[in-house]
Every structure is written in C-alpha cells, then in structure tokens.
C-alpha cells in the first residue's frame, strides 16, 4: 500500500491539522508516513497545502508531485492542484465552496461533499476539514476510523480536548455522507 495525497484550502480551514491527524493515525498503525507542509510566507493570504505519504515501505522523497488523492477545501486550491492529480486519482471536494462548473472538465473520480454546510449543521464550521476527511476515508480506507479517533485524542489535549467530540462527529458525518 502506498498513498500520496495533498490537502489544500484557505489558511484557517485546518489543512495542516488534517494532514497531521492522518499522519498521526498512520503512525499509530505502524505505517511509514511523512507530512510535508507548505510553510512561511507561502501560506499567507492564499492557500495552505500539505503533502502526506502513507506507505507500508520506507518512504524516500517526502514530496508529492502526482498525488493519488486531492482533498480540496476551497476553489483556489482546486485551480492550483487539480492538474497534478494522477489519471486514476481521487478528488474529494468541499462542494459548499467550489463551483460545480469548475469540476466540469475534471475527468478523475470526483467525490463532492458539502463539507462546510455539514460542519455548520454540526455546529462548528471549522470542522469542514474533518467532514472531507471522513468522506475520503470511506472511499479510501488508508487508515481505520478508530486510529483517527485515537490520533485525535493525542493531538487535541489540554484546552483543546473538548474539541475531540465535534471532530469525531464531523469525520463520522463525512464518512456516512459518502455511500
């Protein structure tokens, strides 16, 4: 198994957290994993993105040039990254923020989930990233949901511990949306 993915969205949409969470979950399962964030001035005033590689074997280059999966949380990220996707790649799109016509010419497997909308219904728009992650994990179970929940408990501690529940709910909602 080897999965290369890019998560992208506005700064503040939790792109880095999504990637870190996935990496943490993969590590808990004993898999090889790398997480490479876009950093510095690059992420300011534009899109933030992060590359994650999960593999059963040692990982060489941590850079992802042709992802197997794209998790796209906003329109500018789609414009920037969709051409990089592998031919047989998987696209998970937050359809609340991405115009349907923008997806017209994209031939790859597209999974649209109104992530922001679902997150808002759950009571916290900021967990849209987790909704999209849930959808992705349903289509591509690269890690188990239980590992992701365990990873949430590791990453959200102290003041943030109270956020574990809403994040879990959002992941579940996204997972169940994709049927």
């Amino acid at each position: 198994m080897r999965e290369e993915l890019i998560v992208a969205g506005f700064g503040g949409q939790g792109v880095m957290f999504t990637g870190t969470l996935l990496a943490q979950a993969a590590m808990l399962e004993g898999k090889f994993v790398t997480f490479f964030p876009a950093y510095g001035a690059e992420v300011r005033g534009g899109t933030a993105n992060a590359s994650v590689i999960i593999s059963d074997e040692e990982i060489g280059s941590p850079l992802v040039s042709a992802p197997d999966t794209l998790i796209i949380l906003n329109q500018p990220s789609l414009d920037r990254f969709h051409r990089k996707l592998k031919k047989e790649g998987q696209l998970v799109v937050n359809s609340t923020l991405v115009q349907p016509e923008a997806l017209k010419n994209i031939v790859q497997g597209v999974s649209q989930v109104p992530a922001s909308e679902i997150a808002e219904q759950l009571g916290n728009i900021r967990v849209a990233n987790m909704v999209a992650l849930g959808t992705y994990l349903k289509i591509k179970p690269v890690v188990k949901l239980s590992s992701v929940n365990e990873a949430l408990a590791t990453l959200l501690t102290g003041k943030k511990a109270g956020l574990q529940e809403i994040n879990k709910k959002a992941i579940k909602a996204g997972y169940e949306f994709s049927k």
């Binding site: 870190t20 997480f35 490479f36 950093y39 040692e58 850079l63």
Partner: protein, 346 residues
C-alpha cells in the same frame, strides 16, 4: 515508542537531550520552529535561551558560551549562515567547539524559502576567511535530526572545532515518526582551555591573533594536522545496494531520499543501481567512494544545487570512472522520474 515530530523540533529536542546548555538564534524561515521550540524547552530545562539581535550577535554569543565551557549552539538558514561566517572563522581559529545548524533555503541573495543544498561549498570549504574546516553532518530524516546534535557535540568537543549540521528546508519542515533514542550528553575532550575564572590556576587566553613571527604559521600547521586526523577517522556514509552496482548514486540529505526512491524504481526495471549517502560532508567519505570505483561503472551525483558536492565526488573517483551530475538550483527539487531518466541515459 514512536512520536510524530517536525524535523526542526526534533533537532531542538535532540540538542537538549545531548546536553546543550545555551541556544542563541535569530528568526529566519525555514528554521523558525527550532528557535521557537528552544525558546520554550530551554527555559523549561532551566538552560540559556536568547533571541539575539542578529545572526552576527548569535554566533558571537555562542563563541562566548563555548569559551566558558558549555555545549552551545545556534541555528539559521542560508542568508543568516552567511552572516555567521565571521564568527565561525574566529571559532575555528580559537578552536572552540559548538554546534551550528543550517536549514538551507534557495539562494543566492534572499533567494526563496524552499529547501535547497546550495550552501555545500560554504559549509565544507571553510566558508569564512582563512585555512580552516568545519566538520559537517548531513541529516536526511527526522530521526537523524534528533540524533545528530549529540554526534555533532561529541565531534566538536573531541576535536575542539565547530560542527555544522547541514540540513535543508524539507528535512526541517517534514513531520515523521521518530524514536527518542538515548543520546550521549557527556562533555568530551579536555577542558584545560576553558575560561571560567583563574581560581587556583594560571590565567587563560583565547585568541586567534598571532602576530609574533611564525606563530600563525605554526598554529595553521597544528590545525592542518588536526584536520588530517579528522579526515582519516571520521568519514561516515550509508551505502545501499552499492556492492556490485553498475551505477552509484551519490546524494545527501533530502536529495538522497529522492535518490532512494529513484534507486528502487530503477532496480524494479532491472537496472543495477546503488546509493551512497554521505553522513559527513566534511570530511567527505572519499575512501568509501574510491573503493566503489573498482566495481561501479559510473557515478551519478544528485543535488538540490547547480553542482557542488559533485566536485568532491570527482576528486574521490579521481578519473577512474565517469561522474555524472543532475541537480536543480534555486529551491528546485529533483524528482524521482528525473533521476530515473538520468540513470537511463548513462
């Protein structure tokens, strides 16, 4: 137990576990997480952290702390490392141990903040004025970012010489699982030169200015003797599939990781390819490369630069086999596919 950690932070924790008593630094991307990490952890450990007014000040604070006999370090990225060259030359001249970390970014000038390997010449050939060398280590994973500070301090103290960890933006920024293995935190080597007040002993002086006739030449001869010992005893590298391989890839740091992927891809295609990854860039692993000139048909050096380490590979191969080069400068990253293409061309 494994832990998910960022390269820059792993290096900070590794330095703390290695007994680093004082950190001085000035913010610059892509190594800020290291300075930030130290600002918290060093104070938690009741050790010295100071955000200096410049890289010039930082390296000279390191000079002072090192002269006072503690494990001291600074970190920066390429433009900031240029500023530190003055202090490094003095420290090499005064034979002061210390750890200097360069998380390299694209250059020349302000360049960009992408990972790069364009400071190889500066790191390995002296960098500042005068005939001197730093010992240079090259990590390629978060695990090595954690483990190398202890190795660096040990070498620095053993040889009374500044040691540089030459990382890059990629290995600084990635998160990977790593293990907090136990590292050496003892102070190596003699301390008969430390300035801590002359109680019960003769006063000591630390200086690189030697104006008496012949004194500086004598000092240089002594330094060169030390460098010769280091060259003989401290060459380190990692070899993968190099025995009987036709083509040897030579790469360090992040480009070695891309080469690793390219090597696997090439071997799947039935090509006989191995990888030699220098762990010390100075001293350069000349012996290991020279040994391979018997069995290898060609060498391919891959760098995130316009071609710097390739000169040392050529010196090591010494004309016995062809040495090829592939690199990308200005923050560009060679890809697995590009390297594979270069291998197939040979």
């Amino acid at each position: 137990m494994k832990k998910l950690m960022k390269g820059n932070e792993a290096l900070g924790e590794g330095a703390i576990k290695a007994g680093c008593a004082a950190y001085f630094g000035y913010p610059i991307t892509p190594q800020n997480e290291l300075t930030e990490y130290m600002s918290k952890r060093m104070l938690e450990e009741k050790r010295v952290f100071l955000q200096s007014e410049s890289e010039l000040a930082a390296i000279n604070m390191v000079l002072g702390a090192s002269a006072a006999g503690v494990k001291a370090m600074t970190s920066s990225s390429s433009p900031g490392i240029s500023l530190k060259q003055e202090g490094l030359s003095y420290m090499a001249g005064c034979e002061l141990p210390a750890l200097i970390v360069n998380v390299q970014r694209g250059g020349p000038g302000l360049g960009n903040i992408a990972g790069s390997q364009a400071d190889y010449f500066q790191a390995t050939k002296g960098g500042g004025h005068g005939d001197y060398h730093l010992i240079v280590l090259a990590p390629s994973s978060v695990q090595e970012m954690f483990e190398m500070p202890a190795q660096a301090f040990a070498l620095a103290e053993k040889y009374r010489n500044p040691v540089m960890i030459l990382a890059d933006g990629v290995v600084g920024q990635i998160l990977e699982p790593m293990e907090e293995v136990k590292v050496d935190s003892t102070y190596h080597g003699d301390r008969s030169w430390v300035l801590d007040g002359c109680q019960g002993r003769a006063p000591r002086k630390i200086r690189s200015l030697l104006m008496e006739e012949g004194a500086l030449e004598e000092h240089n001869i002594k330094l060169q003797k030390k460098y010769k010992v280091i060259k003989e005893q401290e060459q380190r590298c990692q070899k993968q599939n190099t025995e009987k391989a036709d083509i040897i890839l030579v790469a360090y740091g992040t480009s070695a990781r891309v080469c690793y992927s390219a090597m696997l891809a090439a071997r799947k295609k039935g090509l006989s390819v191995g990888l030699l990854r220098p762990l010390t860039l100075w001293p350069f692993p000349v012996k290991a490369i020279a040994e391979l000139t018997g069995t290898a048909k060609a060498f391919l050096t891959v760098e995130m630069s316009a071609g710097q380490m390739v000169e040392d590979v050529k010196l090591a191969v010494n004309g016995r086999k062809p040495v090829h080069f592939y690199g990308r400068a200005g923050g560009g990253m060679p890809t697995e596919e590009e390297i594979l293409k270069e291998i197939e061309k040979i």
